[in-house]
Symmetry: C2
Subunit: 381 residues, 2 copies
Amino acid sequence: MSERVTMKHVAAALGVSTATVSRSLRGDPTISLATRRAVQEMADRVQYRPLAAARRLRTQSSSLIGVVVQSLGDGYVGEVVLGIQRRARDLGYQPLFFASEGREDLEAEALEVFLSEQVSEFIAVSPTARPRLLRQAVEEGLHVAVINLDTEVEQDLFDAVESALAIPEVTAPGSADLDEICNIAFDDVAAGVLATAHLADLGHRSFVHLRGPHVRSSLHRLLGYRQALEALGRWPQPVLSTTDSAEPQVQEEREAAVAKFLRTCSPPLAMVAYDDLSAIAALRAAHGLGWRVPEDLSVVGIDDIPFAAYMNPALTTVAQPTHELGAIAVDALLGAPETQRRGCMLDGRLVVRESTAAPAAVANAHRRADLNSVEAPMGAD
Amino acid sequence: MSERVTMKHVAAALGVSTATVSRSLRGDPTISLATRRAVQEMADRVQYRPLAAARRLRTQSSSLIGVVVQSLGDGYVGEVVLGIQRRARDLGYQPLFFASEGREDLEAEALEVFLSEQVSEFIAVSPTARPRLLRQAVEEGLHVAVINLDTEVEQDLFDAVESALAIPEVTAPGSADLDEICNIAFDDVAAGVLATAHLADLGHRSFVHLRGPHVRSSLHRLLGYRQALEALGRWPQPVLSTTDSAEPQVQEEREAAVAKFLRTCSPPLAMVAYDDLSAIAALRAAHGLGWRVPEDLSVVGIDDIPFAAYMNPALTTVAQPTHELGAIAVDALLGAPETQRRGCMLDGRLVVRESTAAPAAVANAHRRADLNSVEAPMGAD
DNA sequence: TTGTACGCGTTATCAG
DNA sequence: CTGATAACGCGTACAA
């Protein structure tokens, strides 16, 4: 029934050629201002909408920007994605999102789709150690930017960093082979330092780090923890780790690991968690054992996911500049030449909320007794 | 440098016509199996990829399914979107996501984009009271499905439902004018009933509902609360409300409202919150006043956002069948004829975690004294 | 300043 | 069973 309105209609209605319409609509200055205006007016009078497919077929380019994420539901990713969408829109681009669910086959499919859609700019948000996707992407001629590339890292490196020995040479993120891509990164080392220094500034002397999975960001945050402590002359300090398992149980394992550790020591204690989710697990563990946060245990997370502020107590954390990360990635690919290309590193921002406080030194002695006598309110279930 | 591989290349390499290639690739049975196979083989030997733009220009249809959400970061939306993406992929469609940020201009832009992209199927996830978008969409000839349409509702209706009077005629969601669209809905009334009944089953006698904003879902959940209570012969019971304000403060306002209420009464108490976020605010308020959850206050949320399980205590809640909602919406638009068209209503599922328990009747008397003597640990900051 | 004409890669129609 | 050919809507080189 309702025919699609094409340039032909606009042209006919005005008695001009389609070429004139085309040129007018894109503001070609060789067309007289009068006709340009007339065309404009007629175009939206008849509700003309350029057909993306036709334009793409003709120009061989799509003004589509492919974005692969693991999951759109993740709060952190959502923020980054928002930054991408806003900046892309400013530049006249439309993001094409694809959730990979962490599956390699879906990542491959994403690439197929992008190629079919003539996507030429490609952003991967926090890809977990899948160089293949990125390799293929550059091989296919896409311009790719990565936000927080997170490659897998050997256990040995963690062991070394956790030891009292000299810090080993920590390779640059991503490193070697991936060279064409630009990596927009959060400074995980600095975040680790920031979190730890905050606790130290509060007067804490006794620290613990809840380590993340075997990936670069985890290693770097640990490194920051160590660096800050070394600067204070207090290294080594304990590091907790859990087996890297699949999503469902990971929170419980973290909670268990923290609980186990807390039983071996006495307040006050200061914890730097790998990320906010880890910190939240720690909150639960502490509560389960009757440790009060922040009085007995100060906890600082990293990321500042949307829910951090809603926790009880609200989580002190190092915020990632999520929107910026997204915007910069877009700029790096599409922005004016002055916007950098070769990647960059952004600092986090300390957000102090309720989960950290000065150690309650005075009350120590008698609280300690308390803790030993009470049963854990929630026990292990 | 790297030329795009087209059907022409495939055809040339095999000495056949592009028509044959085209037909073979789409499995046209009029082509001999032999050639079909040969074409297939050659096609992926030379890495042929159909150009979406060309196909669309020719067929006038895009196998793209437009999806408008408010925010991709929202955990709830993320889950729904996942359901959409999975089902869409099964049917050979590619979702095109657009985050409206709740802005009407962006919604309009989304529609423009969809039209340009020849999108013919359109899903809106939890649109908040913006009939305009949907109207325009159907006017432009799109097939639209809505997941949890949430229109604004007058204060009067809330007042009426909260009163002791007879329940007023509550109009169907969306209602009247939006008729072409199919509404895939979560049964909010049933969810309210489920949550309330759970608390009643636990033995609670004293209830309170923390009401949501002035939208249909909020009204319906309140209605469920009332219905369940009426069935028990315990209506009326208190209902808490906050001013509907913009995102940033809403959590704090909810927390304050709950705190204010808790000060006026004594444990044990059972609360049905509008949603998980409200419930989380209640958790904070309770903690701030020294009420223990679930011993003094049982709280049940609705939605089961991903974070509900991580809360401390983990939140008991009524889960929305998020993936299903998404999948059904896709089916309603694209699925086989046997998959319904005219919308449907899905039930929630009670997920019992740690925030609800039987009222601690015995301990009441002396605990009450406690509560009155202690200062709120966290005070108001 | 504007019009004419062609081609982008694909599919559909019509012959063969 | 397969091939030639036209057309989808737009942008642009070239001509006027």
